[in-house]
């Protein structure tokens, strides 16, 4: 973006050109994602009767509440330039711990607390190792992924169903919105997570430091920012979000199973990237990741409406989209 070469004596022209190009470049990927979302949803509305209803929209959130939460956590990690491969396994472990504890007769609130603590603790451990030993996040979270998946099998190889009344009530309960559209409690929790994440990222020092670390870690350190806290913190947040996503997933499935959520970390990463975040860090928005999840969900819905197409088409389309978005980002980065 060396186009602004006005000498400092000409403040007015600099200001206007700076402001003019600032908005699009920063938000362009998110806007592009939103356009893609509107377009896919539009295609569905034109092709299928009943697609363009409030409930189909609501179902997008209901069916993907857990993924939204995962994508939120993943956004923090990716913003610092890291990656967290453990989220899918932590989801499975969370469903497993929840199911096993409830089966053993523990109260629901305590189960929730324990699951969230385990997820956050795993994140803390991974973040600490990444920071302390300077190991690539890829390897450390890969190890975390195997560990969490393995722990599932230690608890039980079989699927454990959840019969706890509190969980059942939460899972089946619904909230009616104006217009006869219903959503689940899971959606509310997911949206609360999104709001909290936006607040933390944009209105707290921690959040701004996340962006700073992603932009340039050495600069952030020289600026005297607490990079250590942030670098470990994002993995704690991601671990917490994985556990929360796991709880939502156990509500969605009403069971704990070792093979739940296999490969879900990749869905989360895909959503974040489609949502316009750069894997190199420093650029991206939580809202983008949410729209990214919605895009993935819409494609899935489209394919189920089509009926004749195999669900594997979802993967193919997502693959194509991912490539398109990475190409788009490269173009934007190159231009700037």
């Amino acid at each position: 973006m060396k186009t602004v070469t006005v000498a400092p004596e000409a403040p007015s022209s600099r200001k206007s050109s700076g402001a003019r190009m600032k908005v699009p470049t920063r938000f362009l990927p998110v806007i592009a994602t939103f356009v893609v979302f509107v377009a896919t949803f539009g295609v569905g509305s034109v092709r299928y009767e009943g697609f363009a209803s409030g409930q189909v929209m609501a179902n997008l959130f209901i069916d993907n509440a857990f993924l939204i939460v995962l994508a939120v956590g993943m956004t923090f990690v990716i913003l610092t330039g890291g990656i967290d491969l453990s989220v899918g396994s932590v989801v499975a472990l969370s469903t497993m711990i929840a199911a096993a504890m409830l089966r053993a007769g523990w109260p629901a609130w305590l189960t929730v607390v324990v699951v969230l603590a385990v997820g956050s603790g795993l994140g803390l451990a991974m973040g600490w190792i990444i920071h302390r030993f300077g190991v690539q996040p890829f390897i450390v979270t890969l190890a975390g992924m195997f560990l969490a998946r393995g722990l599932c099998f230690v608890i039980s190889v079989e699927s454990v169903s959840i019969k706890d009344p509190t969980f059942r009530d939460l899972a089946t309960g619904s909230i009616e919105l104006p217009g006869g559209v219903t959503i689940t409690y899971g959606v509310v929790i997911a949206l609360l997570a999104v709001v909290a994440a936006v607040y933390v990222l944009h209105l707290t020092r921690f959040g701004r430091t996340v962006y700073a670390v992603g932009g340039s870690e050495s600069s952030a350190r020289l600026m005297g920012l607490s990079t250590t806290r942030v670098k470990i913190g994002v993995y704690v947040i991601s671990g917490f979000c994985s556990a929360l996503g796991g709880l939502l997933f156990s509500l969605y499935m009403l069971s704990g199973y070792s093979l739940h959520a296999v490969g879900m970390e990749l869905d989360a990463i895909a959503a974040v990237v489609v949502g316009g975040s750069l894997l190199s860090g420093g650029v991206g928005f939580v809202i983008g990741s949410v729209v990214g999840v919605l895009v993935l969900g819409t494609i899935q819905t489209l394919i189920s409406f089509e009926g004749t197409l195999s669900s594997w088409w979802t993967k193919i389309v997502i693959g194509g989209l991912l490539l398109a978005f990475i190409a788009l980002q490269r173009v934007i980065v190159r231009r700037s």
Binding site: M1, P8, L203, A212
Partner: protein
């Protein structure tokens, strides 16, 4: 004069095997611009880092604002009012100008960042240094020069009493430098002590009130700029180590045909087109200050940088230097000034380092027989007097001088026709220096062409048959024969300033 705000006494800093600073005193007064001068490796950066707590002190103490201090790192120094702006802009280009200025100390309301107050405060700080840009714009959207000024705005946002500018002008053009200087003056008049590091003499004379000169990790002196001529400064920076070394008897052989000829070779933004001839059996010295283009000349001849004008002839035939590989094939060797990063492989043994070069020269199809390898290693270790005389010693554990010898040996193994030596004697002790100089003379006597780059004029003048002088990225002169004196070269390096050119210095052939 008032009390100094920073008073460093007897500062010594040591790295494994190197004494980076030895008993240096340094004083900085409020309301002055103080230039820290010295060639590469003189210890300027080390002194700054000793002040800001990056390097621990081996000896000495720092007084700051009346008390004895010892900072644990830049963050602590900054909190105490010592801000540093580095050569590369250390900001986050993905954030806004306001955020970059106030990151870590944003105004907050009820625990959340108050964006409006932040932009207002940033605008105020930008106003203070007279920079009119939108604090809400992304830093990336501004040119490097403006980013540098934003870094300064950040530095003064903490009510800095000391502002350290480490080569802030190296990537700026003339107008931008003027803007920077205007801001420096504003801050100086407010009572900020500015420590300014630059290798551009013009700028130093324009902006600084006093200067401290370092050489080889030692203090040369503290001077008032207006009373210190350029020629004195250059001589203080480059030093004169007269009489330490034995006279090298050479300049006897009559060099033959030019082995390498560069015609109008140049590269935009790096070095202006120049002509150069190097004959077999001749040592050509390349003199100039840091940043004058001397290393750039070497890199062009070695193909490490691509020339965008001119051509190179080897033995009368045009060669296309597409990269170091083609230069090596043509018989050119380049021993880089940064031997740690571009020269030796510090984790391998002396033997492996030598074999590596030989193997590269032979190609992977022809393994080096063990016997030949042992012979070569023994030969060069003896010839260069590498110590310890153990081929299995890991290079990283050797002293600087011996590492340099290993690097030389690496190139000699490949039997080059032209040897380019960039600062081969920097940072090594006097004994090793003399050995390397002797070796260069011997190699030339055996018919090798040598391009010898050094910041030490004594050395260049003593060893070279011809001296090429660089200034401001241009070849300004070529001095022939053994009659060249250090003073002549120094005058040419100091250039056309009004600060006391030696009479008679201009008699040199100015091309």
């Amino acid at each position: 004069m008032t009390e100094p705000v920073v008073d460093m006494r007897g500062i010594s800093v040591e790295f494994p095997g190197v004494k980076a600073l030895q008993e240096v005193d340094f004083r900085l007064f409020p309301g002055e611009v103080h230039a820290l001068m010295g060639e590469n490796g003189a210890g300027k950066s080390t002194l700054i880092k000793a002040l800001t707590g990056v390097h621990p002190l081996a000896a000495g103490g720092i007084h700051y604002a009346g008390g004895s201090v010892s900072f644990g790192g830049p963050a602590q120094a900054q909190a105490a009012g010592i801000s540093t702006v580095y050569q590369e802009v250390n900001l986050c280009v993905n954030l806004t100008v306001a955020e970059n200025i106030l990151l870590g100390r944003e105004p907050r309301k009820f625990g959340r960042i108050d964006g409006k107050a932040m932009r207002a405060r940033a605008a105020e700080l930008l106003e203070r240094i007279g920079l009119h840009i939108d604090p809400g714009s992304v830093l990336e959207s501004h040119p490097i020069a403006v980013q540098q000024l934003v870094a300064i705005a950040r530095a003064v946002a903490v009510d800095a009493r000391v502002l350290v500018l480490d080569e802030p002008t190296s990537s700026l053009d003339a107008d931008e430098v003027a803007e920077l200087f205007r801001i420096i003056r504003v801050l100086r008049d407010e009572g900020v002590a500015v420590l300014f590091v630059s290798h551009f003499l013009e700028q130093v004379y324009e902006i600084s009130d006093r200067m401290t000169v370092l050489r080889n990790g030692r203090l040369v002196g503290e001077y008032t700029t207006s009373e210190f001529s350029r020629i004195e400064l250059v001589s203080a920076m480059l030093g004169r180590e007269m009489g330490v070394l034995e006279e090298i008897e050479r300049r006897s052989g009559t060099p033959g045909e030019p082995w390498l000829k560069a015609e109008g070779l140049g590269r935009k933004g790096s070095v202006a087109p120049f002509d150069l001839e190097i004959r077999a059996g001749e040592v050509v010295g390349l003199a100039g200050l840091l940043g004058s283009g001397r290393t750039e000349v070497a890199r062009l001849l070695f193909g490490a940088d691509k020339a965008d004008s001119g051509r190179v002839l080897v033995g009368g035939k045009v060669v296309h230097l597409r990269g170091p590989r083609s230069a090596i094939e043509a018989g050119i060797a380049f021993s880089s000034e940064d031997r740690k990063a571009e020269g030796v492989v510090a984790d391998l043994s002396v033997r492996d380092n030598l074999i590596l070069a030989l193997q590269a020269a032979r190609g992977w199809m022809r393994p080096v027989p063990r016997k030949l390898a042992d012979e070569l290693v023994a030969k060069y270790m003896e010839m260069l007097d590498i110590r310890p005389a153990n081929p299995e010693a890991v290079v990283g554990t050797l002293s600087g001088g011996n590492q340099q010898k290993v690097l030389l040996a690496r190139w000699l193994v490949t039997e080059p026709k032209l040897l380019i030596l960039d600062e081969p004697t920097r940072g090594i002790d006097v004994g090793a220096k003399a050995q390397i100089q002797k070796l260069v003379a011997d190699l030339a006597a055996e018919g090798m062409a040598v391009l010898f780059i050094s910041a030490e004029l004594e050395e260049v003048v003593r060893i070279a048959d011809r001296v090429v002088v660089m200034r401001d990225r241009q070849k300004v002169a070529e001095l022939d024969g053994g009659a060249v004196g250090v003073d002549d070269v120094m005058a040419l390096i100091a250039g056309g300033g009004d600060h006391g050119l030696d009479k008679g210095a201009q008699k040199a052939v100015v091309s």
